[in-house]
Structures are given as structure tokens and as C-alpha cells.
């Protein structure tokens, strides 16, 4: 297999197809649209379901429907469109049907612009909809990682019967980079034992998020929380660089993390003991690992393309052990390695009493 040069959006779409997605429903929005367009071409070719829905609201509810039949199902959007999916996501999470959603974030709030952003971190990790739940959130930093993670996303969704989000900023969605695509998986034929397939020769099945009785709904929640606790324990993902002896650890996810990598390497070249932690799963957040790192380092610098969101998770994980500094750019401005290096150098200097 050889690497192909592909946009992140297109690579995600093709990798999802190869992972066996049976149905895609979406609505155009920049900077995500190439994903939908690729699906528009490929899914009908393959005899699979594709609809350009009338809205994101309709799209997520079509996903809800198709997912109820046990088919691998996905949608994709960008920030304002993702906001419109909140109610539907909450229903899906409560009903415990699996699905994959890609959010290619853009500058906000409001209509904002179409430039790269990570400003929906809270929205995706804390409350993709009302009620108590967290989706699984995976944040790739390269086209290859996007390809790999979306395959994993479908598996995680099935395993936990849960919503899995792939979040990227517009930069990764639009960027071309070589990546190897996996082989085409044959479509899964059998349907899960909870799926709606018609009550033929068996008891009928129901998929619902309604439970009028409070204790019964509490039981539903307990069940959901228990599942989340397992996910929290088993599915924390991250990658790291030159952490062992690092006095200053830069923490960033997605493209911000990748850009920071260049700055970190630069700092190392200048003799500073700096490392990088790049969380891959934003929920569950790699909290234990971070807390462990906090034990051995002197400071954290969190870099995000927003006004400071993941920094709260880092602070929670660090638990007051080390100072946590934040550097962010908003409105679609992409930080360049040079400015991150500058922050690193300044902070490192202070650690040295400078």
C-alpha cells in the first residue's frame, strides 16, 4: 500500500467508507464540505446510503434512525452545524446507539468565519447536548492519524454503543498530506441484538430515550455513567515527545499540538528541557498520565486555538501541583511555531529565575 496525497476531509471520508460506513447524512458547511462531497460521489457508487439532508438537525436525526438498525452510520459538520446537532446527540447518547460524528471546527462564536479553530472543546467534551454524558472525543493531528482514528472510532462506537466524535480544526480538514488508507472492509452483514430489524420471530425491540419515572431514569443514567467510567479507564490516548526529563511540558491537541511540536524541538535545540504532551482522546482526557507528569515537571504550557478551554482539564489533572500557563489564539488565527517558541522561552526563563 502506498501513501496518497489527500485532504484531511477527503481522507476521513474514504477511510470511513473503508471502515464499512453504511450510511452518511450531512449538510454542506465550510471547512468540512469536501467530506460530504466525497461521500456524495462514493456512497451511491457503492450502493450505500447518502443523503444531503435539509439541515444538520435533519442529518443527525437521520443518523439516529439509521444507527438504530445497527448500521455503521456517520455525519460531519462544523461548529454552527454541530450546535444544531446537540439535541439529537443527547438522544443518541441516552438511547445508546453507536454513531460517528466529525466536527471540523471553525472560528466562532456565531457565524464567525471559516478559519481553523478549537473553540468548541467545551462543547464537544462537556455537553454535546443536554443531560449527563460525554461523547468519546478523538483529535487527530495529521491526515494519517485522522485515517487511523476514524476506523477506531467506528469500533469504539460499536463496542460501547456510544457517540464517538472526531474533532479537527479546519486546517487539518483542508490540508493535504500523504496518508495510507486501509483496505476496504467488507460490510458487516449481521445486526446487533438490540437493533431494529423488524419483530420477526422474536420479541419486538424499542429504542427510546424516554423514561418518565425518575428512579427508572436514574437507573438509565447509572448505566450510562458506569459505561462512561469504563471508557474513562480504558480509552485514554495521547502521544508525547521528550517528556522524561522535561521541566516544562507543552500540552496541545490536534494541529495546535502539532505546531507546538516544532516549537518544542526548536527549544530543545536551544538546550531547554521542554517536552510535549498531545492528548489524542479529549474525552476521556488523559488525566492520570498528566497528573503523573505533573509530579516530575515544573510547569505546563497549554496551547490551544481558543481562549482557554482544555487548560481547565489540565489544571484539574495537575491538581495544583505545578503552575499551568495558557497561550491561545482565537478567531481562526493559527499560531505559528515562532510565537509558541517565544512563549516557551519566556516561561522557561522564569523557571530559571529569569
Amino acid at each position: 500500500m502506498t501513501a496518497e496525497l489527500m485532504k484531511g476531509n477527503v481522507a476521513l471520508a474514504e477511510a470511513a467508507i473503508r471502515a464499512g460506513v453504511e450510511a452518511y447524512f450531512g449538510y454542506p458547511i465550510t471547512p468540512q464540505t469536501e467530506l460530504l462531497e466525497h461521500m456524495a460521489k462514493r456512497m451511491p457508487e457503492l450502493g450505500r446510503a447518502f443523503i444531503q439532508a435539509e439541515s444538520e438537525l435533519a442529518a443527525i436525526n437521520m443518523v439516529y434512525g439509521a444507527a438504530c438498525t445497527g448500521a455503521r452510520t456517520m455525519t460531519s459538520s462544523s461548529s454552527p452545524g454541530f450546535s444544531l446537532m446537540q439535541e439529537g446527540l443527547s438522544y443518541i447518547a441516552c438511547s445508546q446507539v453507536p454513531c460517528v460524528v466529525v466536527d471540523v471546527m471553525r472560528g466562532g462564536p456565531g457565524l464567525g468565519n471559516i478559519q481553523p479553530s478549537q473553540a468548541d472543546y467545551f462543547q464537544v467534551t462537556r455537553s454535546a447536548g443536554h443531560g449527563d454524558y460525554h461523547p468519546i472525543v478523538l483529535a487527530p493531528a495529521s491526515v494519517q492519524e485522522a485515517v487511523d482514528l476514524i476506523g477506531e472510532a467506528f469500533d469504539l462506537a460499536d463496542e460501547y454503543r456510544h457517540v464517538v466524535l472526531i474533532v479537527l480544526d479546519g486546517l487539518l480538514g483542508q490540508m493535504m498530506e500523504p496518508a495510507e488508507l486501509p483496505e476496504m472492509k467488507p460490510l458487516r452483514m449481521e445486526r446487533a441484538d438490540w437493533a431494529l430489524t423488524g419483530a420477526a420471530g422474536r420479541e419486538k425491540r424499542i429504542i427510546t430515550s424516554l423514561e418518565l419515572d425518575a428512579p427508572a431514569l436514574e437507573a438509565v443514567n447509572d448505566n450510562l455513567q458506569a459505561k462512561l467510567a469504563v471508557i474513562r479507564e480504558k480509552e485514554q490516548r495521547w502521544t508525547e515527545l521528550m517528556i522524561e526529563d522535561a521541566r516544562l511540558v507543552v500540552v496541545g491537541y490536534g494541529m495546535a499540538g502539532r505546531i507546538a511540536e516544532t516549537a518544542v524541538k526548536q527549544a530543545r535545540r536551544e538546550g531547554m528541557k521542554v517536552g510535549l504532551l498531545r492528548p489524542i482522546s479529549l474525552w476521556p482526557f488523559p488525566e492520570e498520565h498528566l497528573s503523573m507528569i505533573a509530579d516530575h515537571s515544573d510547569a505546563f504550557l497549554v496551547v490551544e486555538m481558543n481562549a482557554g478551554q482544555m487548560v481547565e482539564d489540565v489544571r484539574l489533572a495537575a491538581g495544583g501541583q505545578v503552575p499551568v500557563k495558557f497561550y491561545g489564539r482565537t478567531g481562526g488565527v493559527v499560531p505559528v511555531p515562532e510565537e509558541i517558541y517565544h512563549e516557551i522561552a519566556e516561561l522557561y526563563n522564569k523557571l530559571n529565575g529569569g
Binding site: L5, L171, Q174, M175, R258, I259, E261, P337, E338, E339
Partner: protein
């Protein structure tokens, strides 16, 4: 080796495709590469640019403030990028669409009328091929041969009639790049 090349001009000038040609060629030669467009709502006549990074190692940041090479297709792009090129870097200017010469002396500048040449060779839209050829002359990031191969492949059968003149454009740019004392 790592080069950061910015292609910048108007939408419709083939700016993004020019960058992609470089990226595809780099991939074909087994190099690490990233290509990032500026993207905007569909508007003709707006600015368009892309950044290509080619490297022997895995690429961290695909963005940079100070590229090592700038290829500017028009005057606003000259104004914007001249000052950002790294000292010692290269600036290629499409003279047909600018009203001034570059002023910096700490960079290498190559100024020639690429659009006029492209028009002469049969299609104004080949401005990007001409400039790309010139780039390869000044910075052998990838080989001219591979670039030709990729160009033909990317134009595809549907545009077979354009193969020859595009190759000619590429070579014309290359010649100029080789000949001019920068």
C-alpha cells in the same frame, strides 16, 4: 532539508494547483510534504494562497510565519510576502501582474513576466507552470523530470491536449530560472 514555499495570488490564477503540483511531485520522490490552502467563501478575484512544506523528515508544523520561498502571482501578494521571506530565501515574482520590483536585498529575487510567457505559449492559465519551472531551477526541491511526469498525470487524459504546452511552460520557466542571474 526543509523548504517552506508560499504560492500567492488571485483566485483563478491556478495558485492552489501550482502548490499541489509541487506537493505531488515531492510525494512521488518519497519526501515528506504538507500542502495548506488559504480557503474562503467562493469569491472570484479574492486572494488565494497555499503553503507547501517539503522535508526529509516528518513535518511538525505545516504553517510558518517566515517561509523560505515565496512565489507571488500578483501585486498584493508581493506586498504581503516580500517582507516575510526568511533572510537568504527566494522570492519569485510574476512581473506581468505587479507594478514594482522587490526591494529586499537579503533575499534572492527572480522577477519575470510569467503570465505574458504563458499567454505566449498558448494559455494564460499556465502562469503557475511557468513559475513552478522557475522555482525548480533556483531550488531543486524536486527534479524537473518528476515534475513533468506528475504534471501530465494530474492534467489527466481529459486534458491531453494541454500536456505538451504545459510541459513547454514548465520548461520555459525552468530555462529562465537557470539563465537569470538572480
Amino acid at each position: 532539508m526543509q523548504e517552506e514555499i508560499v504560492f500567492a495570488g488571485f483566485g483563478g490564477q491556478g495558485v492552489l494547483f501550482g502548490g499541489q503540483l509541487l506537493a505531488y511531485t515531492a510525494l512521488a520522490e518519497g519526501k515528506y510534504v504538507t500542502w495548506i490552502p488559504s480557503y474562503g467563501p467562493e469569491m472570484r478575484g479574492g486572494t488565494a494562497n497555499c503553503t507547501v512544506i517539503v522535508s526529509d523528515e516528518a513535518i511538525g508544523s505545516p504553517v510558518t510565519k517566515y517561509p523560505s520561498v515565496g512565489i507571488v502571482f500578483n501585486n498584493p501578494s508581493l506586498d504581503k510576502y516580500e517582507e516575510l521571506i526568511k533572510p537568504g530565501g527566494l522570492l519569485i515574482v510574476n512581473q506581468s501582474m505587479v507594478v514594482r520590483n522587490p526591494v529586499r536585498t537579503d533575499i534572492e529575487a527572480l522577477v519575470f513576466p510569467a503570465t505574458a510567457l504563458a499567454t505566449e505559449l498558448g494559455d494564460t492559465k499556465m502562469t503557475n507552470s511557468v513559475l513552478f519551472g522557475a522555482l525548480l531551477a533556483r531550488r531543486p526541491i524536486v527534479s524537473l523530470e518528476m515534475a513533468q511526469q506528475v504534471l501530465i498525470e494530474k492534467l489527466g487524459q481529459r486534458k491531453a491536449h494541454l500536456h505538451a504546452i504545459n510541459i513547454a511552460a514548465l520548461e520555459r520557466g525552468y530555462e529562465i530560472g537557470m539563465s537569470v542571474q538572480a
